[in-house]
């Protein structure tokens, strides 16, 4: 313990800070004895604590390095950026003084300037050196936060960056993961839906080889109608998001060019990890219509009436990662493997119990509450599971990593 205290004192002396040995020791003891924090972590924690007490940012934070927007690929890094302000948005919270988009030659990203930072305001179109900003991530999208320790220096030179809004980029459907982006798509119209709003002229699904996405064409856009099954080049669409599902909107600035080629609609696997929190009705042993393969309700197909159905096994479940929910569909083959129950055994089980719902109960018992990682194509609100595996057991090193992260909150 004495050794640890001396190590900390040495570091504090470097910063010309005087702290009583007993204060350090009692803090160390608390961490190590009461909270079973490993010594190395405790030393760092106590050191950081006293540094912070005296207004000095710990080492890890002190040095920020100059990077390009495109290089930002991890959270919690302290960086310097030379960027142009491309867009300013309405802050959603009083805690935020400014938010918007900044960019350089390598890309653009959201920035958030906290009210607490008391930094001067950024002007649209101007270029700045942002020093000591911290990177953050939400659902795979990176941003930078400007806080009390950040600095803003206006630049005389103009940082080259693509203008935010009007620069629509040719994009694949699968890459659409951010609202408010302007994109060009080359797609086929896969479905047109009934319209239930007077402001919408057309709505439905469009897709390319990477996946499908909902589109909405406003009446105000005054654009020609899209035809189901035809392929188009759609220019200058804006992306939107609702409850984690993305769509594109065609407005007055959008263009539609019919294409002679036929775009093949495909899909690219999506991933999701989380706890399986529900096995829904319609899971387990079901009967399908022999003609259209849809599941029957009390032996009746909604299209073909009363039919002699064929048995099948499937799971409709909900995965939840604490931020979002994902509906998933698991087919018979995967269900059989996952639950270790064949279709024949399921039938047998239902027969003995005189109740096919027992199969769903068995599935619930095996899956609900556990953590899974899944991949598969996304179709509307479902992810069609191609592979599913339980998350690997927690290792001591995983816990250490998280403990370290807890120290710097």
């Amino acid at each position: 313990m004495k050794e640890l205290v001396d190590q900390i004192q040495a570091r504090l002396r470097d910063q010309k800070i005087t702290v009583e040995d007993v204060d350090i020791e009692s803090r160390l003891k608390k961490l190590i004895t009461d909270f079973r924090v490993p010594e190395g972590e405790a030393r760092r924690s106590v050191l950081n604590y006293f540094l912070k007490e005296h207004g000095i940012m710990p080492q890890a934070r002190a040095s920020s390095e100059k990077v390009k927007v495109g290089e930002i690929k991890e959270t919690g890094r302290w960086v310097d950026l030379e960027v142009k302000v491309l867009d300013l948005w309405e802050p959603a919270s009083a805690a935020i003084s400014q938010t918007g988009l900044v960019g350089d030659s390598t890309g653009s990203m959201k920035f958030v300037k906290w009210a607490k930072s008391e930094l001067p305001n950024l002007e649209l179109g101007k270029s700045y050196l942002l020093k000591g900003v911290v990177t953050d991530e939400f659902q795979g999208r990176y941003s930078v936060k400007l806080n009390r320790t950040s600095q803003i220096e206006p630049l005389d030179t103009d940082v080259e960056a693509k203008p935010a809004s009007k620069a629509a980029r040719p994009t694949k459907v699968v890459d659409i993961n951010e609202p408010g982006q302007w994109v060009d798509l080359t797609v086929k119209v896969s479905q047109l839906w009934e319209i239930n709003s007077e402001s919408i002229s057309q709505s439905g699904l469009i897709g390319d080889e990477t996946g499908t996405i909902k589109f909405v064409k406003w009446v105000k856009a005054d654009l020609p109608d899209l035809v189901e099954g035809k392929s188009y080049s759609l220019k200058n669409l804006v992306t939107d998001e609702f409850q984690g599902r993305f769509s594109v909107k065609l407005n007055r600035t959008s263009q539609i060019e019919p294409l002679d080629i036929d775009i093949e609609i495909g899909s690219v696997a999506a991933e999701f990890s989380g706890a399986l929190v529900d096995v829904q009705k319609g899971s387990g042993l079901i009967k399908r219509c022999p003609i259209c393969k849809r599941s029957l309700t009390k032996g009746v197909c909604s299209d073909h009436g009363k039919v002699d159905g064929t048995y099948d096994l499937r799971i409709k479940a909900v995965l939840d990662d604490g931020h979002r929910v994902q509906d998933v569909l698991i087919n018979r083959e995967t269900t059989e493997r996952l639950v270790d129950l064949t279709l024949d055994e399921a039938k047998q089980m239902a027969m003995e119990a005189l109740d096919h719902e027992i199969v769903r109960s068995v599935i619930e018992g095996k899956l609900v509450g556990r953590y899974y990682s899944i991949t598969g194509p996304r179709v509307d609100r479902y992810l069609l599971v191609e592979s599913i595996s339980e998350l690997a057991p927690v290792l001591t090193s995983d816990v250490d990593e998280l403990l370290a992260a807890t120290e710097v909150v």
Binding site: A95, K116, D278, D320, V325, V368, V394, V399, V409
Partner: protein, 283 residues
């Protein structure tokens, strides 16, 4: 937004028991402010919970119902314990809870319930939607998961401007209620209501992870029975003591009456006893 087709399932938030029990602020929120608007419990770190997911050790279970069965269980995580309930309106959960052994590892999906006793104490419990037996590996994953989510919320809190000290209640209610509130807004609201001590909850996360770490170092392939030894001994003693006080309906003996206002912080220490008041079917 939430009203559209009524079809967006609420996310199950990850919150440690200690934090859940420190919560005392619930409200209805949604585009339309009526009795159909979903209700939420806002926790001190800003988790806006209509639903929560908890994995821990079921240490006790009792049928506290009269004519119809009404099951109550206690689920323990590294930070404390929370009571779960399942009755005739949650038949599947009730049946599963009834058939379960205590102790065992369980995963619970449930709706948080805020109940105020006659003497002004606030009790948070969960109305279980589902209860399933799980293994220790899943419990460990949940601790990691919950620690991560809690840290995310603490980071949001750290960015909230210190709340004005006057009229905390009024300000909290004045925050415009939108169904699409974001983490930053939830954090702000939490700070305004609770004046959350970030370090307190950071220590809670540290404690949870440190105890997980020591669990891991004791080996993971032990047979199920030893799981009782791994639970803090405290919970064992507690459950025995409480079973007594739980069965005798009235004796709120020797316990000093707590009379803090809603906005005050319940002290975590003395909560356990309060919880065993038989609140019957009211929840």
């Amino acid at each position: 937004m939430a009203g559209m087709a009524g079809f967006s399932r609420e996310v199950a938030k990850r919150v440690f028991a200690e934090e859940l029990k420190s919560s005392n602020y619930s409200f209805r929120d949604g585009q339309e402010q009526n009795q159909y608007a979903p209700s939420y419990l806002l926790t001190p770190t800003g988790a806006k919970c209509n639903r929560v997911f908890v994995v821990g050790t079921l240490t006790e279970k009792d049928d506290i119902g009269g004519d119809t069965e009404y099951w109550r269980g206690r689920v323990v995580d590294p930070t404390g314990s929370i009571l779960i309930y399942a009755g005739q309106y949650q038949p599947e959960a009730a049946q599963l809870l009834a058939s379960m052994d205590a102790p065992s590892f369980v995963a619970v999906v449930g709706k948080p319930n805020l109940y105020q006793t006659d003497d002004g104490n606030i009790i948070i419990s969960l109305r279980a939607e589902s209860i399933q037996k799980v293994d220790e590996a899943t419990r460990n994953q949940w601790i990691m998961d919950t620690a991560r989510r809690t840290l995310e919320r603490l980071r949001e809190l750290a960015n909230v401007k210190p709340a004005a000290l006057s009229g905390d209640f009024a300000t909290a209610d004045n925050v415009p209620a939108t169904a699409a509130s974001n983490p930053a807004q939830d954090a702000e609201r939490a700070v305004q209501h609770y004046h959350t001590d970030i370090d307190h909850f950071r220590q809670m996360v540290l404690r949870a992870l440190t105890s997980l770490k020591s669990d891991l170092s004791k080996g993971i392939s032990e047979p199920e029975i030893t799981s009782t030894e791994k639970n803090p001994v405290r919970s064992e003693e507690k459950s025995a003591a409480e079973r007594v006080s739980g069965e005798v309906p009235a004796p709120r003996k020797s316990k000093p009456k707590k009379s803090e206002s809603l906005s005050a912080w319940p002290e975590s220490e003395s909560d356990d006893e309060v919880e065993t008041i038989n609140i019957g079917k009211k929840s």
